[in-house]
Each structure stands twice: as structure tokens, then as C-alpha cells.
């Protein structure tokens, strides 16, 4: 049971609550380190560009890109879920997760050389399996990048719209702005009508972002995964990715909240075990879903014993990439499952953070076993693997590239934290308005309002 003192959003939130950005000491070792890693990422990206068109060279970059898609880009969806469920636990976390929309924009740049290295759908009269069914409209490069761009724009718009009431300042300031800036700030003066429009548009943009996210996941995982490994045909694969992305997103959010609580008191004062209790439940559920989706895929191939399917599963599960698969299984399922079923672990942010780190490591290895296997496959035009491929190991540049991408994500996130007030002010104030702690006879209770 969560005790009132452990509740993040306690009565400390008294109006007027003024949201602020986070002040970061640019000379601290952590910030300098993140900056260096980001610079490393940029350098490695440029170095890798010299391998343009060599598909196998882009195998590990593809894995880390899909890892970013499955954690960073999925994070803003948690804000949507929290708003839909009107969950109080999510109030201090919503802005924190929406800000991930900005580092998520790295996807666009990362995908250019990766998609550019893909072979055509048809070669010497033979067509490889694909989701575009011979459509010649620039698939997969243009179609995938277009879909990714639309998704990223929706994520950015969601982040911006949610932040406008906190950024705009008093109406007099907005009225004094030049026209383009006023437009950017949605001419925000906080009228009732504007609030209604803002909420409605946020709802629709979030729903649109979710649908685009699912669509992008489906096409990217197929174009960079199944379509390149002969004999691999799995309808559940996109859904597996969506589910594991939600798992990765929750893990990322838990880690971020933990770090903010530790190092950013202005945010940390609102983050407590209430957030852990809710996020822990989701993480446990998604952990079970990992097994369910994996098993639904594996069992059918094992049972039907079609040679082409069996060879594909032997490649990315049972033989060639068995080590990354085992790390993924332990990280995404076994360890989180046996730990998160216990309340004392699930409901404490620090302990949940430790499990979340394990989950993210598992997710990374999962993406490696899936996408390195496909991107490095020799002949995507055959109907099945004649023999199992050898594992494709990363070289130093691949490893530095992956570390650099993580650095770039962290650097952009740190930067945006200094620009947009966190946690969001208007939602926090509104939440406090509808929440009260009181006594009911001898018991301490929370009264939670649910406005229509």
C-alpha cells in the first residue's frame, strides 16, 4: 500500500505553482561526457557514410536505429495513455516523456543511409517478399521516410502543443509578439475556447501519433527485417515490435524519472513511488506480453516444421544468433518477470530502475539478433536459406556508432530539458485542483476528481 508521504504529487503543490526549465551545469563531468559521446556519434555517422550502399555495414546501425524507435520514439505514447486513463500518477511524468519527441527526430537522419542500402524488390526477374506488393512509388526509401517524417512531426507537434500554455507567458507578452511567433504560440491567451481546442487537438494528434507509430513500426521492421531474410514470414512480427517498444519506452521512462529525481530536484520533488507503482505494473504486463508474442511466433514455426520458416528461426533465435537471443530473453522476460511479480520491487523507483536497465539491454540485443541477421543476409531473393549463415560480428566502428547514437539521444534530451519547463505547469495545477487528501472517519483517503 502506498503511504501518503510516498505519493509524488502531494500537497506540496500549492498554487501558484510556476513551472521552470532545468538548469544544467555545462561544466559537470556528466554533461561534458554526454556531449563527447554525441560528438562521437556524429563522427561515426560521417565515417559510416563512406560505406553507403553496403547493406551488411549498416546492420548494427539498423539495430540501434530500431532500438531508438522502440524506446525513445515510443515514449511520448505513455503521455497519451496517461491522459486517456486520466491517471494522476502520470501528471509529473507527461512532460518528461513528451520531450523524447525531439531526440526521436534523429531517426530521420539515421534511416537515410540504412534505407538507402536496401536492395531493390526485384532483381533478375525475381521478387523478394515485401509489404509493398511491387508498388513502384519509391518504396521502401521514400515511403518509409515519408511515414517516419509524418510520425516525427506529429510527435513534435504534440510536445509543442502541450508546452505552449507554459511557454507563452501572460497574454500581454503574446500580443506583443511578431505575427509568426504569435502563430507559433497559437496566439495563446488561455481563453476557454483555446483550452477546449488545445485539449481536442492534443487528443487527436496523440491518436494520430499512435497510429503512425504502429504503421512505421510495421513497415520498418518488415523492410529492414523479414523482407531481407529468406523464408521469414511472420504476421505477428510487427505486433511483437509494437509491444516490445512499449516495454522499452516504459523502461526508458523509469530510468529518466529516476535520474531526474536524483539530479533535478525541481522535477524530482514530484516524482515518487506512485509513479513506480503504476509504471511497474505496466512493465510487468508488457513483460508477459513479450513471452506471449514471442511464443505465438515460435510455436507455430516449431510445430509446422516448414523448412524455410525453421531456417529463419534457427538464424535469429536458435542457432546463429542464440547468444543475443538469450540475452534478450533474460533481459526482456525472465529477469523482469521474476523480479517484478514482487510488490517491493515493483513499487520502489530505485529497484524498478535497476530492472528497467536490464530490460533496455535485453531490447538492444533483441534488435541486434533480429536486424543484424536480416541486414547481413546474403541473398534476400531466394525462397529460403539453403544453409544457416555465420554470425555477423560488429567491428569497432559499429560499437562506437551505437554508443554515439545513445550519446546523441541523451544530449538532445538534456538540451530540450533546458528549454521547455518540466514538469508541465498547467496539467500539474489542474491535477492538484481535482485531488485532495482527507480523513474519512479514522482512515486517510485520497479524493480523486474525474472531470467529464
Amino acid at each position: 500500500m502506498i503511504k501518503p508521504e510516498a505519493v509524488g504529487l502531494s500537497l506540496t503543490l500549492r498554487p501558484p505553482y510556476r513551472p521552470s526549465t532545468i538548469a544544467i551545469n555545462r561544466k559537470s563531468a556528466v554533461v561534458v561526457g554526454v556531449g563527447l559521446l554525441a560528438a562521437l556519434g556524429v563522427v561515426m555517422y560521417v565515417v559510416k557514410l563512406f560505406s553507403w550502399g553496403d547493406r551488411a555495414e549498416w546492420a548494427y546501425p539498423a539495430a540501434i536505429t530500431l532500438f531508438v524507435l522502440s524506446s525513445v520514439s515510443a515514449a511520448p505514447l505513455v503521455a497519451f495513455a496517461s491522459r486517456m486513463a486520466r491517471g494522476y500518477w502520470g501528471l509529473p511524468a507527461r512532460r518528461v516523456v513528451e520531450l523524447f519527441a525531439l531526440p526521436s527526430m534523429l531517426l530521420f537522419a539515421l534511416l537515410i543511409p540504412i534505407l538507402g542500402s536496401l536492395p531493390p524488390f526485384e532483381q533478375d526477374g525475381v521478387t523478394r517478399a515485401n509489404l509493398w506488393f511491387g508498388w513502384g512509388g519509391g518504396a521502401p526509401f521514400l515511403t518509409d521516410q515519408l511515414a517516419v517524417s509524418v510520425m516525427l512531426l506529429a510527435g513534435g507537434a504534440l510536445m509543442w502543443f502541450a508546452a505552449v500554455p507554459d511557454l507563452a507567458g501572460p497574454p500581454s507578452r503574446v500580443r506583443a509578439m511578431p505575427a509568426w511567433k504569435r502563430l507559433l504560440f497559437l496566439n495563446w491567451t488561455g481563453t476557454k475556447r483555446q483550452w477546449i481546442v488545445l485539449r481536442t487537438s492534443m487528443r487527436w494528434i496523440s491518436a494520430f501519433y499512435l497510429m503512425m507509430y504502429v504503421f512505421v513500426t510495421m513497415i520498418l521492421t518488415t523492410d529492414l527485417g523479414q523482407s531481407l531474410l529468406p523464408g521469414w514470414r511472420s504476421g505477428i512480427f510487427p505486433a511483437y515490435h509494437v509491444i516490445t517498444s512499449f516495454q522499452g519506452a516504459i523502461a526508458l521512462i523509469v530510468i529518466t524519472l529516476f535520474l531526474l529525481r536524483r539530479y533535478a530536484p525541481s522535477v524530482g520533488q514530484f516524482i515518487g513511488d506512485e509513479q513506480a507503482a503504476s509504471l511497474g505494473k505496466f512493465l510487468l504486463a508488457l513483460t508477459l506480453f513479450w513471452f506471449y508474442f514471442f511464443w505465438s511466433d515460435f510455436l507455430l514455426v516449431w510445430y509446422a516444421r516448414l523448412p524455410s520458416e525453421v531456417a529463419a528461426v534457427q538464424t535469429n533465435v536458435a542457432v546463429t544468433y542464440i547468444v543475443p537471443f538469450l540475452i534478450a530473453m533474460f533481459g526482456q522476460f525472465l529477469i523482469p518477470f521474476v523480479t517484478l511479480i514482487f510488490n517491493p520491487i515493483r513499487r520502489k523507483l530505485a529497484r524498478l530502475t535497476a530492472v528497467s536497465v536490464v530490460v533496455l539491454i535485453g531490447l538492444l540485443f533483441d534488435r541486434i539478433r533480429l536486424f543484424v541477421a536480416s541486414m547481413s543476409s546474403e541473398n534476400p531473393f531466394s525462397h529460403g536459406l539453403a544453409e544457416l549463415p555465420e554470425p555477423y560480428y560488429p567491428n569497432a566502428i559499429d560499437i562506437l556508432f551505437m554508443i554515439g547514437v545513445v550519446g546523441m539521444v541523451a544530449a538532445i534530451y538534456l538540451w530540450v530539458l533546458t528549454r521547455i519547463p518540466t514538469p508541465g505547469g498547467w496539467e500539474m495545477r489542474e491535477g492538484a485542483m481535482y485531488r485532495r487528501e482527507q480523513k474519512y472517519m479514522h482512515a486517510e483517503v485520497l479524493v480523486l476528481g474525474k472531470p467529464d
Partner: protein
């Protein structure tokens, strides 16, 4: 505007138990009619025993017909209870209170009905034991647990047992209430035994609350496994149109779509038939409809995955099956009706608040969903089998016979009758749960507005 349930304790006790203690005339008429239809089903079943499966419209190579379609359909409907009850309990959704019991009871009776179909389908029910249970130990004959046909009964047995236990534990306080209110001494004795002496001590209430959460958390994974295993009856084979890895979640979410829609249908009927207007409000139907929009859209996504990844490999047999499903009569018509009634009309209408809060329209749209979902199962089961393979020397069209339609009607009547009889004997709404909701109800004043609120233990 939200409409919270607001009745005093006395009215709640009276109205919630009214149907248990009263004998309205329509009850006899309805049970009589249902009894007649069930009798018809029994006669058909008897004839089936005598004349065999030739009474059905099977024609080589199709030997999985209506019984299998109905089996999948009723298993799907049975997912209503646990989906609505367990998930909403875990999410502490306040509006769940009047909905849970009916949903759980629907689960029990639809599951029991579903279980009869494999028995009918086997043609020689007395031999079902031979395949499923190790009855012949002396000769060393054991069932084959590697077969999905053994997984199925294991899953259904677990699900049925768990659901019955879940309902029973949640029923204890209401059985005690019935014990205290009933005048008839026999009734008092029966309810007394069933309620196990439940008095409503603090400890008992505390355990009830934890049990609700714990059993919900345990039953949810079972609920997911049941329809997944049903889907694997098909998907582990290599029959075109069936062998797709997405089948398990696709079946589960389809079941939820069908089941929650059935719950809405039942709730609306109960509201008028049992005089529960104070308890089933527009808010409940609205909330369920919102849930259904999400469920239906996820279901559509999985349907699209099934479709796209059916064609993805461009394997001729798969492509042929999909072509038959979508492009050849009568399947084209069935596909169109299924997608229109299963998604386009209902979800299109549910986007409008006015429709979500209209009992008549919600009744119609949820019935449409189940027509669509039945056709979906029909479309999954039959065309995959209708394909000529290299070893098909004899080929005929499967046309469902009158006997099969008769059995469908009888099974529908069986579910309704089961539900009705349960409602007659036991409270179909969780009285204690509803009254707890009244206690926990509060409001928060913001300016001049009063916002409905709920108390939670801190």
C-alpha cells in the same frame, strides 16, 4: 454530464434483489420458449447420434463446419466477462461496478455452451473420452499432449473452473445479503449454506478486495491463453489461410470485441427486463463503447496483419485462399457484410457521443458486431478447407444444413436460459460492490462546478 448511480441502501437492496424474489409472468413465457428451442436442439442432437454427421452439410474436403465456427464464436463471447471484469477491477475503474457480474455470468454460460460444440462436432460424443482422457490405462493408451486438441480442453477446463471460482468468491457477500433478505426458510437455508456464514467483518471485506485483484490478475493470463490455444488448433497446421503467426492475438482481440459487445447487448436487455434503470446508466454504456472503439480498431489492425502477411510471401496457395475469401461468391458478400457490421457501421457510429449514450442504437450496433464476428469466424474456418489440393479426388461445396441452424438456435437459447436462471436464483448485480461505490463517492468543488470524485485508500 456524468450520471453517477445514486440510490439509497434500502432501494439498492430492494431493486437488486427484486428479480430474485419475484416471479414475473414474462419469466415463465420466456423460459418456456427457450426450453422449446433447447428441446429442438436436443432432438437434433439425438438424430445426430442415430444418423451421424450426414445430417450436416459437410462435403469433402470440408469437415469443419458450423460446430467449429460456433465453438470459436462462443469461446470468443466468453472473453467478455473476464475482459470487462478483471481489467476494470485492476484499473480501479469506478463504472465497472454494475457491469462485472453480468459479464462474468455471460462468460460461464457461453463457455459451457462452447464446450458442447467439439462434442457435437466429433459425431460420436461417447468416444470423446477416448481421445481426451487416459481412460484406458490398463492397455497403456494415453492421450497425446502434443496435440492442440488436448491443449483445448485443458485451457477451457482451467478457464471455466477459474471463472466459476471467481464469480463464487465475488458472490459471497451477495449470497449473504440474499440469506438475510429472503423470507422462505428453504431459500434461507440454501443461501445460508452457499454464503458459508459470511458476515461482512472487516477482515472478510479486506480479503474480498484483495481476492478481486489477485484473481483478476491470475485469470487475465488464462483468458489470453484460451483463445490463443483455440487459434492454434488452426494455425499450427499448414493449411493455407490458417498458418499465420498472428492468429493468437488476432483471435484474442476478436474475442474481446465480440465479447464486450455481447456484454453491452446483455446490459441493455437487463436494464429493461430486470428494471435496473437506476444502476445501468448511459455512462456505463458510453464507457463500454469507448473501450470498444479501441478494441475494434486493434482488432482491425490484426485483421490487416493477417491479410497482409497472408499475401506477403506470395505463396500461390495462400493467395488463392485470400482470393476465394474476398473475391469469389458467396464469400465476397460474406466478407463485405462482416467488415461492415463488424467494424465500419458500429465504430463509425460510436464515434458520436449521442450514439454511445443511446440504448437502442447501442443495442443494434453491438448485435451487428456479433453478426460480423460470427461471419468472420465462418470466413476463417471454411475457405481454407475448401481448397483443392493434389490429393483431393472428390470435391463438393459445404452448405450448412437446417440441422446446423437448429443447433445454433438451441445453443443461443441455452446461453440466454442459463443467464436468466442464474439471474432468477442469484443477484445479477454485485450489490455490495455497488453500495461500496456509493460510500466512496464524493465530489470536488472547483469554483461553482462540482466534479464527481471517488475516495481511494491512501
Amino acid at each position: 454530464m456524468q450520471e453517477p448511480v445514486t440510490v439509497d441502501r434500502e432501494t439498492a437492496n430492494r431493486e437488486l434483489l427484486d428479480f430474485v424474489f419475484a416471479w414475473p409472468k414474462w419469466f415463465f413465457a420466456t423460459t418456456g420458449l427457450l426450453g422449446a428451442v433447447i428441446t429442438l436442439g436436443l432432438i437434433i442432437f439425438l438424430l445426430l447420434m442415430i444418423f451421424g454427421l450426414q445430417l450436416f452439410g459437410y462435403a469433402h474436403p470440408v469437415y469443419w463446419g458450423f460446430p467449429v465456427v460456433n465453438f470459436v464464436f462462443w469461446i470468443g463471447v466468453s472473453h467478455a466477462g473476464i475482459m470487462v471484469s478483471a481489467i476494470l477491477r485492476l484499473a480501479q475503474a469506478e463504472w465497472r461496478r454494475p457491469v462485472t457480474r453480468a459479464a462474468e455470468v455471460l462468460t460461464i454460460f457461453s463457455l459451457m455452451t462452447a464446450m458442447t460444440f467439439p462434442i457435437i462436432h466429433s459425431g460420436r460424443p461417447w468416444r470423446t473420452l477416448y481421445w481426451e482422457f487416459p481412460y484406458d490405462w490398463m492397455r497403456g493408451i494415453w492421450p497425446n499432449p502434443r496435440s492442440p486438441l488436448v491443449w483445448d480442453p485443458a485451457a477451457i477446463f482451467t478457464y471455466l473452473t477459474s471463472t466459476v471460482m471467481f464469480v463464487y468468491i465475488a458472490l459471497l457477500p451477495d449470497l449473504a445479503l440474499a440469506r438475510d433478505r429472503v423470507k422462505n426458510p428453504i431459500g434461507k437455508a440454501v443461501y445460508g449454506v452457499l454464503s458459508l456464514g459470511f458476515r461482512g467483518t472487516t477482515r472478510q471485506w479486506r480479503i474480498q478486495a484483495i481476492a478481486g485483484i489477485l484473481l483478476s490478475a491470475l485469470i487475465l493470463p488464462i483468458f489470453v491463453s484460451v483463445h490463443s490455444i483455440v487459434s492454434w488448433d488452426f494455425a499450427v497446421t499448414i493449411i493455407p489461410g490458417w498458418h499465420n503467426t498472428v492468429f493468437a492475438p488476432y483471435f484474442v482481440i476478436g474475442a474481446v470485441h465480440s465479447g464486450v459487445s455481447a456484454v453491452v447487448t446483455v446490459m441493455i436487455v437487463m436494464r429493461y427486463a430486470f428494471g435496473l434503470k437506476n444502476f445501468i446508466t448511459k455512462d456505463h454504456i458510453d464507457s463500454l463503447a469507448r473501450l470498444l472503439i479501441i478494441v475494434a480498431t486493434v482488432w482491425l489492425f490484426f485483421f490487416m496483419l493477417d491479410f497482409m502477411f497472408g499475401l506477403y510471401g506470395t505463396e500461390p496457395a495462400e493467395v488463392d485462399t485470400w482470393q476465394r475469401r474476398l473475391m469469389e461468391p458467396p464469400w465476397t458478400a460474406i466478407a463485405i457484410i462482416f467488415i461492415i457490421t463488424g467494424y465500419i457501421i458500429p465504430v463509425g457510429l460510436w464515434l458520436f457521443r449521442r450514439v454511445r449514450r443511446n440504448f437502442f442504437l447501442m443495442f443494434v450496433t453491438t448485435v451487428l458486431v456479433n453478426i460480423g464476428m460470427w461471419l468472420e469466424r465462418y470466413m476463417i474456418v471454411i475457405p481454407g478447407l475448401e481448397r483443392k489440393s493434389n490429393l483431393t479426388f472428390q470435391y463438393g461445396d459445404y452448405l450448412p444444413s437446417a440441422a446446423e441452424f437448429g443447433i445454433i438456435a438451441a445453443q443461443l437459447a441455452l446461453v440466454i436460459a442459463g443467464f436468466l436462471v442464474f439471474s432468477k436464483l442469484l443477484p445479477i448485480m454485485p450489490a455490495a460492490d455497488i453500495k461500496e461505490g456509493q460510500i466512496l463517492r464524493d465530489e470536488i468543488k472547483v469554483g461553482r462546478a462540482r466534479v464527481p470524485a471517488t475516495m481511494r485508500e491512501a
